[in-house]
């Protein structure tokens, strides 16, 4: 289970990233943030976000149009 879950379904670029940044601040170091999004662009964007900020994208998956990302707060 993730420490926090962010429901970003229905939100378009760049809101999922901006909200994830905020939510990540509430996650303790090495804790995890789960993000649910429906924006197909969020897949590439969360990969880039994690590479740039040094947080770890532990996994991402898709189920019925909903993308799920698990980010470990490592930066």
């Amino acid at each position: 289970m993730a420490d926090h879950t962010l429901d970003a379904k229905g939100l378009n670029c760049p809101l999922p990233i901006l909200k994830a940044r905020k939510a990540l601040k509430e996650v303790p170091a090495d804790g995890t943030l789960e993000i649910l999004a429906t924006d197909p662009g969020s897949v590439a964007d969360f990969e880039a976000f994690c590479r740039q900020t040094g947080n770890e994208l532990v996994e991402h998956s898709e189920d019925d149009g909903v993308f799920r990302f698990l980010i470990k707060h490592t930066a």
Partner: protein, 162 residues
């Protein structure tokens, strides 16, 4: 954070509803990715700092603006944009569409930019030219001119003109 040494600046020169998006989207996203960001508001970009935003849109001179409609895409011939009320209707249509598609409002993005400590510089010359004062603006912008921006730009890794 690995990105801390990178920074970005944007010259914001346009103030229509559609053109207000790229600078605010990029500024807030870069800030979220750990980059210090500076936005320099000049000419028609300056009113984006006004307390009350009333952003409008026109299809005039923009053949690429085609709205999704009845399964297709519809543009507007220039001559129709001259009819009173047409721009207002286009603006309303665009705002409705954005709302429906989960696109943030400029008001929201601007607030997020302020919250993320994006540095906002209002062009002094444009303030004089169009007779605005800092009292007309939201809390946060500082005043500066070309030299102020150039100093920022020489330090930044990404400099955009929008």
């Amino acid at each position: 954070m690995s990105a801390e040494e990178k920074s970005m600046s944007i010259i914001v020169t346009k103030g229509s509803l559609d053109w207000a998006y790229p600078p605010f989207i990029l500024a807030t996203t870069a800030a979220a990715m750990g980059l210090p960001v500076t936005m320099f508001f000049t000419f028609y970009g300056l009113p984006l700092l006004l307390k009350k935003l009333d952003l409008q849109l026109t299809a005039a001179g923009n053949p690429a603006m085609k709205m999704p409609m009845m399964g297709g895409h519809m543009g507007l011939p220039n001559i129709l944009t001259a009819i009173p009320g047409v721009d207002a209707a286009c603006t309303k249509m665009m705002k409705n569409l954005m709302n429906k598609k989960g696109v943030a409002s400029i008001e929201d993005l601007r607030e997020l930019a302020v919250e993320a400590e994006v540095r906002l510089i209002a062009c002094q010359m444009t303030m004089d030219l169009f007779e605005y004062t800092l009292d007309d603006m939201i809390e946060g912008p500082e005043l500066g001119g070309a030299a102020t921006y150039i100093e920022v730009a020489t330090q930044a890794d990404i400099n955009l003109f929008i």
